[in-house]
């Protein structure tokens, strides 16, 4: 019956009919008849999609040893090779690609599938496990063997640890963001797995204990503090050694022997750790995770905990599929920012990958509300760090010039391009007026800063973006704002119009600034400023009076 005339049927009748046809060629014929006949779009779509489906099924039966890569786009190849388990077939494909179109991306895809197959072969169950100490008796450090590094095997892990970074005595925001996220993750975790595991904050440095309370308020149950005045500044060696030391449980195979017992750390290593993806946090995280023989998902922006089923033989030991529980899923953007990879840190046979850890991009999570009522415990590390860990000595340092902060002054005198006729003189007059007040500073419009005016050396230091007031500069709200030679562009206005009293000096009768000034002096700033200075100095003009005059 295969080929029928669709024009004899209603669309509703055609669905089941079309489904019964197994031969794509017959359907092509049906499609043709429809096109010549009623040419209904819905019918054509129906038939076509069945044809496509049959073709897809055909493709399932591809003979990969014969496959011609040039018939497929790179994207198709990428999907295709995923299904191929025969390394020889892949090698054949690679040869044909090289001989044919020789597309580097296509080759990459085939090669990476080959590598994948081969590496999983190596890890196959046939190979007998020999502990590295036996296998390489002469090596002093067992992590020298890439394949079976010796870390912990089948250890006990608990809690989520968060490294809380401080900078110049302050907790950085990302530390709080991580605590908030950790709190939320562990609350869910404890619910789901019926556990009572903790969020552990780690503070290291000089005089950091004061932050312990904050750590608790933002979500920690336990704060581990390590105080050492030599650690006032981040140092790679000392920070990573100390972190590993506190992270290793009592009786850890690589732990210190002389440690006092800690009732809060009765497991081998943390289950999870989070570091900030800051300069220091990245540096620390890489070393710590290597030292603890685990992996690291750097620069993550999403985290969740879930069970997952994995079939990679390297992880399952060749047993087919295996369920891994309580896996921290760490999402990180790829280089382009429009794809995400989810990184998992999974144990292997004979080798645990714990702590499961990553570094977190600042700003990825919200800073939680602080809860001053929260309770938690603060404990101290008892490690006495040996001097040799402090191999780096900071002899001298400089703080980058942050420039002047114009907020908080009673009076701000701002100069604009009205000083153009004699810029140096203009600045001098502004400075004189500033000095006449008790608490005043000098600001500038952007127009002055970006000009080509040549200023004499003694006033040059005052010309910089740090004094700019406005949209792309500072926002000030002094009691009195004196704007001399400023037109009042909207971008300038937004930086000063909350000032209590605004006095403008301008040669024009109605510059824009007039609209939002309390006093408008029409005149030349080179004449008006000195007179103003004089009046202030002599006490003739008093700030309180000016401010009062506003009412």
């Amino acid at each position: 019956m295969a080929v029928f005339d669709p024009n004899d049927f209603e669309i509703s009748e055609l669905g089941p009919k079309v489904k019964d046809v197994e031969d794509a060629g017959d359907l092509e014929e049906v499609l043709e008849r429809e096109k010549e006949g009623k040419n209904r779009d819905a019918v054509k779509t129906l038939v076509q999609s069945r044809i496509d489906k049959l073709h897809d099924e055909d493709e399932d039966a591809i003979d990969y040893t014969e496959l011609d890569p040039s018939e497929h786009t790179v994207a198709e190849m990428a999907n295709l090779v995923r299904d191929v388990d025969d390394a020889d077939a892949l090698r054949g494909m690679l040869e044909r690609e090289e001989a044919g179109e020789d597309r580097s991306t296509a080759k990459d895809r085939i090669q990476s599938r080959l590598d994948q197959l081969e590496s999983s072969d190596d890890d196959g169950e046939e190979e007998e496990y020999v502990p590295p100490e036996e296998k390489y008796p002469d090596l002093d450090h067992p992590t020298a063997d890439k394949q079976y590094v010796h870390g912990v095997d089948d250890g006990e892990y608990r809690d989520m640890w968060v490294y809380c970074e401080t900078q110049q005595g302050e907790l950085v925001d990302v530390s709080l963001e991580m605590l908030g996220k950790a709190r939320q993750l562990m609350d869910d975790y404890n619910d789901q797995y019926d556990e009572e595991e903790l969020v552990v904050a780690v503070l290291m440095g000089d005089d950091v204990e004061g932050h312990a309370e904050d750590c608790i308020a933002y979500g920690a149950d336990l704060v581990v503090v390590h105080e050492d005045e030599r650690m006032a500044r981040f140092q790679h060696k000392a920070y990573s050694e100390v972190f590993c030391d506190v992270a290793r449980g009592d009786g850890h195979p690589y732990g210190r022997e002389d440690r006092s017992e800690r009732d809060w750390h009765e497991y081998e290593e943390p289950r999870y750790v989070l570091f900030p993806a800051t300069n220091n946090g990245r540096d620390l995280s890489a070393q710590v995770q290597a030292e603890l023989d685990s992996g690291l998902a750097s620069d993550c922006s999403g985290l969740y905990i879930e069970d997952t089923v994995i079939s990679n033989p390297a992880k399952t030991g060749g047993e087919g599929k295996r369920q891994f529980e309580r896996v921290l899923h760490m999402k990180r953007p790829d280089f382009s920012g429009f794809e995400y990879s989810t990184i998992l840190c999974l144990d292997k046979p004979h080798r645990d990958f714990h702590p499961q850890g990553g570094s977190v991009i600042p700003g990825s999570f919200e800073i939680p509300e602080a809860d001053a009522e929260r309770e938690g415990e603060v404990v101290h590390s008892d490690l006495d760090a040996p001097d040799e860990w402090f191999r780096v000595d900071v002899q001298d340092y400089d703080t980058l010039e942050e420039g002047i902060d114009l907020t908080g002054y009673e009076v701000v005198i701002a100069l604009g391009r009205g000083i153009g006729d004699d810029p140096t003189k203009g600045i001098e007059l502004g400075l004189e007026l500033r000095d006449a007040f008790e608490d005043a500073e000098l600001g500038l419009s952007r127009g002055v800063i970006t000009s080509s005016y040549s200023f004499d050396g003694h006033v040059e230091q005052y010309i910089g973006e740090d004094r700019q007031i406005g949209e792309s500069g500072q926002v000030v709200e002094p009691d009195v704002y004196i704007a001399a030679g400023i037109s009042g562009a909207i971008q300038h206005k937004v930086g000063m119009d909350e000032s209590d009293v605004i006095i403008a000096i301008n040669t024009e009768p109605d510059a824009d600034i007039r609209d939002f000034s309390d006093y408008y002096v029409q005149g030349d700033l080179f004449e008006v400023l000195p007179r103003l200075t004089e009046a202030v100095e002599s006490g003739e003009l008093r700030l309180e009076e000016i401010a009062a005059g506003d009412d």
Binding site: S70, H72, T73, V74, A75, E76, A78, A99, G100, E101, D102, R103, S104, T105, D108, F335, S336, G337, F338, E339, G416, R417, G420, D422, R446, G447, T450, S451, S452, Y453, S454, S472, S487, A489, I490, Q491, D512
Partner: protein, 558 residues
């Protein structure tokens, strides 16, 4: 393979019409394609008039490549086209719908933010399938060149990326074309400057005031004496509920007359002819500007080097067909042809003697007739005659003389002028002199025009308010003034569309500096109000680059 660089089969720089067309054809052929766009969204940096044409003779049109374009990305189909010759208050109008319809399958008014962002989403869907996609906020700032060969691109925001094909669809002022030494930005004669205002109208006003239906649109052009003698003209195009009102001038003429572009735009906006469009209310949504290449002079005849191909404005493929401006359609065709060339050359790559993708692309531009439109042979002949000053002056004098006027009247009564305007042949050979832009229209207006009675009372915003209404994300300065002397860079003070003489709030400001008793006139530059039009790259001595990804001006209309 060098280093561990990221590699894609094709990298397309820019997601305007040229880039979108290239990406469509590449993706449909399974080429792994990454599209890099510096704006926060495609369209946020772009300006056109803009009427996008689908030419009957073109091998590709935007709706072929992106079905649904007309329904979802454009404003109104343009169904009538008029040109107005203005002399003071006298105006003589001609219907040039025939010229507009010539070789036109359809033509729609567009606003670029809406159009390009729509395209961007489609481009992303399609290129993703190949393992690529669109990444916005990335400023491509150079080429990876090894041993003189182009290998890929470098970006401000990402690590260098290698590619087998680099499509520079980065528009006018293409940094890539410049770096490959294919284009330079030296001669003002080679460019136009376009300035535009998008004006909001009450609902239904477009139909009422232009006398068109819901699915119709109108285009009006203006030339004559309303632009201080600067060569060029003005346009009004109808969008759904807004108008695009703009001007396009030869850059050399703008510089020579030291004209202020925003004032010329205001001259158009406040002309009595436009009174009926505004009805006393003027609500400007956006002020914008951009350079426009003149294909007759700059369309590169061999726009490729190694793996790099230039398409669209980057290759100077912007055709001024008399008063009609065709850039977007050619960008589409060129983008698609370049992609097609790559796919073909890749398929037969094994044979050594085959042409490269670039060579094939060049051949296609000729064979498909694109190059013929961009650089018409007739123009080269006409230019040799018509552009000589002596000839110009002579024709101008004749035209202005009573005899000339008589001729005009006679010509008009015979219908010669209208048909001349409507002749694609005539419009292709208009010389770049004052004659067709200023003198002829003025004379026609004067001799034949009717007096316009309407009074136009609107007040367009001042320049500082126009700047204030734009959205900027200010980054580091992207233009460096190399020579601040007035002689070298002073032209930018007037020519920059957001600067003006005696205006302290613009990019370029004229200043007098006193050093050791002698005075010097210099210019200073602040790039914050910059709308990235490219003008000062040509008329001032600068090191000119686009801002970093996401930085700078963000157009909402475009």
């Amino acid at each position: 393979m060098t280093d561990d660089r990221e590699h894609y089969e094709a990298v397309v720089v820019g997601c305007g019409p040229g880039g979108a067309a290239a990406a469509a054809v590449l993706a449909d052929n399974g080429v792994e394609t990454l599209v890099l766009e510096r704006g926060t969204e495609a369209g946020s940096k772009n300006v056109s008039g803009g009427l996008i044409y689908a030419e009957e003779s073109a091998p590709y049109t935007i709706d072929d490549l992106y079905p649904g374009f007309r329904e979802q990305a454009s404003e109104r189909p343009i169904t009538e086209y008029h040109i107005h010759n203005v002399a003071g208050n006298k105006v003589k109008s001609y219907d040039i719908t025939d010229l507009h319809d010539h070789d036109t399958e359809w033509s729609d008014a567009v606003l670029r933010r809406k159009m390009d962002s729509w395209l961007e989403r489609r481009v992303h869907e399609r290129t993703r399938e190949t393992g690529g996609g669109v990444v916005t906020g990335v400023h491509v700032d150079g080429l990876i060149q090894e041993d003189g060969e182009v290998k890929g691109v470098t970006c401000e925001e990402l690590d260098p990326i290698e590619a087998d094909l680099v499509v520079a669809a980065d528009g006018v002022n293409s940094e890539l074309a410049r770096e490959a030494n294919l284009m330079d930005w030296e001669e003002p004669e080679e460019w136009f400057q376009g300035v535009k205002a998008v004006v909001d109208l009450p609902e239904g006003a477009v139909e009422d005031r232009f006398g068109i239906g819901a699915d119709e649109g109108a285009a009006h052009l203006f030339s004559g004496d309303l632009f201080e003698g600067v060569r060029g003209g003005g346009f009004v195009y109808t969008n759904e509920d807004t108008l695009s009102v703009g001007t396009v001038f030869h850059l050399d003429s703008l510089v020579a007359e030291e004209a202020e572009p925003h004032e010329l735009l205001d001259a158009l906006l406040t002309h009595p002819m436009l009174a009926e469009y505004f009805d006393g209310e003027y609500d400007e949504l956006e002020y914008s500007a951009k350079l426009v290449p003149d294909s007759k002079k700059v369309a590169h005849t061999s726009p490729h080097r190694g793996r790099l191909v230039l398409v669209g404005d980057a290759a100077g493929q912007m055709q001024a067909q008399g008063p009609i401006i065709k850039g977007m359609n050619h960008a589409v065709t060129a983008g698609a042809l370049a992609a097609e060339a790559f796919v073909e050359s890749r398929a037969r790559k094994s044979r050594k003697a085959e042409p490269t993708a670039g060579e094939l692309y060049e051949r296609k531009l000729h064979e498909e007739g694109v190059m013929g439109k961009l650089r018409p042979k007739r123009y080269e002949v006409a230019a040799a005659l018509g552009e000589r000053d002596a000839v110009t002056n002579l024709t101008d004098r004749v035209l202005e003389s009573p005899v000339g006027r008589f001729g005009i009247k006679a010509a008009d009564s015979l219908g010669i002028i209208e048909s001349a305007y409507s002749s694609p042949f005539m419009s292709m050979l208009m010389p770049d002199t004052k004659t067709p832009y200023v003198t002829l229209p003025t004379v026609i207006g004067e001799a034949l025009g009717d007096r316009v009675t309407g009074e136009n009372t609107i007040e367009p915003p001042a320049l500082d308010d126009r700047i204030g209404d734009l959205t900027y994300d200010v980054g580091d300065p992207h233009i460096e003034l190399l020579d601040e002397s007035y002689a070298a860079s002073g032209a930018a003070v007037s020519a920059c569309p957001v600067s003006a003489q005696d205006f302290g709030g613009g990019c370029y400001r004229s200043e007098t500096v006193k050093t050791n008793g002698h005075e010097e006139r210099v210019v200073s530059l602040d790039t914050q109000p910059c709308v990235e039009c490219g003008t000062c790259a040509v008329v001032a001595d600068t090191d000119w680059n686009h801002p970093a990804g996401n930085k700078g001006v963000e157009y909402k209309q475009g």
